[in-house]
Amino acid sequence: MHKPLTLRILSSLDGKSWAALGAFLALALLVVPVLNLGTAEDSAFHISAYAITLIGKIMCYALVAIAMDLIWGYGGILSLGHGLFFALGGYAFGMYLMRQIGRDGSYGADIPDFMVFLDWKEIPWFWSGSDSFGWVALLVVLVPALVAFVFGYFAFRSRIKGVYFSIITQALTYAAMLLFFRNETGFGGNNGFTDFKRVLGHTITSPETRLVLFGLTALFLAATLIFAAWLVKSKFGRVLTAIRDAESRVMFIGYNPLWYKLTIWVISAVICGIAGALYVPQVGIINPSEMSPANSIEIAIWVAVGGRGTLIGPIIGAFVVNLAKSWFTVSFPEYWLFFLGLLFIVVTLMLPQGLVGLWKKLQEKNASRKGTAA
């Protein structure tokens, strides 16, 4: 175990995976910008702004899915409240974006429009510093981490687990949603934050800004994947998996599961928060419905569809489900909920290991057939 950290990180993925990751980054950082900016709109190779926003959005969801997989697939703890951390990160960064509007709002005031509407005269204390990018970037990490730490500490300390934990996290995000729906809470109530103009002084809707955000999301997704791969193969990750499989035995050996669970829970929340912060400038809106229990439970189905306990699974799941969602809601809006509902049922009944598990099973079958033939 005396390998340097960089080497250990390098060895957390095999050669094929590194190649795939490199190809993905090349695609996101080079091919997509060229095809978006460098081709004519009617060209067959043109990638539209809509497609970039959609893929960017889904990459944020994929980040959330990885975070969910870390806690559910590797930690065995099903959270139905991850939408809360996502929304908290989004709201934290949304505060900065609201301040960047400056005097260009419809009231031309120094404070965001909804505060004018509430007849507030100045920025409330919890908004102070929100015009500084550095402070807000810190908030994006700290707020979800703090909420997750406090909640997780009490929940794990009293050994709440299984469905009890799931239900309580659902109630947590539900309560937070109600809180953010109130106008007096100071985060825009029902409408949340929208009508952003600039980010770091650049127009938020310009193609270049969009591509930069897209590239950043892709980079962060790749980085999270590498980090997660290293984490689950480290000693920490192995103890975590052991806790998932037999908590009592791990305790008898002498580990305290509390800190392992709490660490992965906070890491997971932070990844969600950053994903939310990347999501808001790309989509252009954040409102309390992101915290609805239904949204959070959908995150679980992305992971389940892809295959939990694997790292590529959640990404596949997030892409498959969300692409299906954007296709369904445009073509057959009536049937989307039927499809989603059946997806929940079919995946849990027939595909407990998700698409990745199915793929592995098929491969094994092929291999054994070849084996018997030879």
Partner: protein, 525 residues
């Protein structure tokens, strides 16, 4: 009305010996100026004479005229002298006085006040009740006279109040003091607002009366607060019984099979839509028995929800035993399918379910505390269902099997309990109880595809707090959460109440991770 008037007039005209009204006063009713008319109406009211009723009624019905210098009442082709009521010759060209809205209002309250002297006690009672909100200082002598004559205790109490209210503007401080003292014993917000001006120096020069008024307002306030809190506790009780109906089913399914059924709220919805369906059927085929649709809906809702439950259990849930987290996701999927099915079948809008007539209205305990019948009936219904479930679980063979499976599934199977059939039965029972909850819910809230979603989190909280598989736990937790959240709502608003309850539950679970009534033994884990 004209007939009534005619009979009245005939009676009066056959009794010429009766003292007539002051002719000048009656003449003033037809004066040019509205203020003169108002003054005349008030003076006539003071006489409390049945004849005044006759004249004022005629005026309200536009049959009072001015002929020469006399007020006459013209009814069809007959004419009477207004003051004496004696028939006279039809005058040549009677003039109709203007009766504008102000006069009409004055006439209406005058007639209402005069009803205090009606021979019929029920008419007097109604009039006294109506008067409570529109007492004016001028009525004081009239009320005093009515109070003198009154024999009925209930009417007398009402009149005393009204008299006291009218006396508040009396010039004599002693009379005001007596009035304030009389009013201090009431508990109505209107009387409080009448007394409020007297608590300030500008409104009440006499110190003694003012202090008495301040004390009276305080006394009324505290009584109002008590009533308000009782009202809150009551609505908490009714919320608790709805939660109980939701949680009883969950307690059974979670207790027996250890599965979390996220589609439980949608089973409530099935019950509510079954009620809606029965209402539609009754409207179409049995409109004369429409009030009975609700009792008829109870078995229908129970069995339709139970049927949905059986289908759910047989097709999905039974394949997932022992994998609770997966069951949670699969039942969530089921709930989405059920919601969308309701949308497709009944439309995305809420449907209208009306209260039967015997459920509308309520019992008025205090002037500002009304206990609505529909909530009282729901509380009773929840008790009834609770009793039924208790009997079923404790006194029947099925209940014994269910309890056996809850306690130790492999052992129960070994001694011959058909565990898989018990699972289906228990799930159907839980679903059916949710359906009954839907019937109750349809009477107090909207019936729509999303209605189940709002109750699912609360129902789970009840199960979490109450402890798994415990009827007693579910009862105490449901009532406790219901009352606690309604009381908190009154003080802090709905959202803060919800959040603080969640925080309380998390803290509570720190102390008692297994709920109020924990199962004891090795299989607890």
């Amino acid at each position: 009305m004209t007939k009534y008037l005619l009979i009245l007039l005939l009676c009066v005209s056959t009794l010429p010996a009766r003292a007539a009204l002051d002719a000048a006063q009656v003449r003033q009713l037809t004066a040019e100026d509205s203020s003169d008319k108002v003054a005349a109406i008030r003076q006539l009211t003071q006489t409390a004479d049945p004849d005044a009723v006759r004249v004022l009624k005629a005026m309200a019905e536009d049959s009072l005229f001015l002929a020469g210098d006399k007020a006459v009442i013209i009814d069809g082709d007959k004419a009477f002298d207004a003051a004496s009521g004696a028939p006279i010759k039809m005058p040549a060209n009677p003039e109709s006085p203007t009766v504008n809205n102000r006069i009409r209002g004055e006439l209406a309250s005058a007639l209402a006040a005069l009803k205090l002297f009606d021979a019929d006690a029920t008419v007097r009672l109604a009039s006294a009740q109506k008067l409570q909100s529109q007492v004016t200082p001028e009525m004081a002598p009239l009320l005093a006279r009515a109070l003198d004559k009154e024999t009925d205790a209930q009417i007398k109490a009402l009149l005393t109040l009204a008299h006291a209210q009218a006396n508040l503007a009396n010039t004599d401080p002693a009379a005001r003091l007596a009035a304030v003292k009389a009013l201090a014993a009431t508990s109505s917000p209107t009387i409080k607002s009448v007394l409020l001006p007297l608590t300030e120096k500008a409104g009440e020069p006499d110190d003694k009366v003012r202090y008495e008024a301040i004390a009276a307002v305080k006394a009324i306030d505290s009584r109002l607060a008590i009533a308000e809190n009782i009202g809150r506790a009551f609505s908490g009780l009714s919320l608790g019984s709805i939660l109980l109906l939701g949680a009883l089913g969950l307690a059974i399914t979670y207790g027996v099979m250890g599965i979390i059924n996220m589609a439980h709220g949608e089973l409530l919805m099935v019950g509510a839509y079954a009620t809606y369906g029965m209402q539609t059927l009754f409207r179409a085929y049995l409109p004369e028995a429409i009030d009975w649709y609700l009792p008829a809906a109870i078995p229908v809702a129970f069995f339709s929800a139970a049927l949905v439950g059986v289908v759910m259990e047989r097709t999905v849930i039974r394949w997932l035993y022992g994998r609770t987290l997966e069951t949670l996701l699969a039942t969530w999927g089921l709930s989405l399918v059920l919601i969308q099915s309701a949308r497709v079948l009944f439309g995305a809008q809420n449907v209208e379910v009306a209260n039967p007539t015997w459920m509308s209205g309520g019992i008025e305990v205090m002037p500002n505390l009304m206990l609505p019948w529909n909530r009282i009936i729901i509380i009773g219904f929840a008790m009834f269902v609770l009793a039924l479930v208790w009997l079923l679980m404790n006194k029947t063979r099925l209940g014994m099997f269910v309890r056996a499976v809850t306690q130790n599934r492999p052992m129960a199977g070994c001694v011959g309990v058909p565990t898989s059939r018990i699972d289906t039965m228990a799930f159907a029972l839980g679903a059916g109880i949710a359906g009954l909850g839907g019937v109750a819910l349809s009477q107090i809230s909207n019936v729509g595809p999303d209605m189940g979603q709002g109750y699912i989190v609360d129902s789970f909280m009840v199960v979490v707090v109450g402890g798994v598989g415990q009827l007693a736990g579910a009862v105490w937790a449901a009532l406790g959460l219901g009352i606690f959240s309604k009381l908190l709502e009154g003080w802090a608003g709905a959202v803060i109440a919800k959040i603080s309850i969640l925080v309380c539950i998390i803290i509570f679970i720190q102390k008692r991770p297994q709920g109020i009534f924990a199962l004891k033994g090795r299989f607890v884990e």
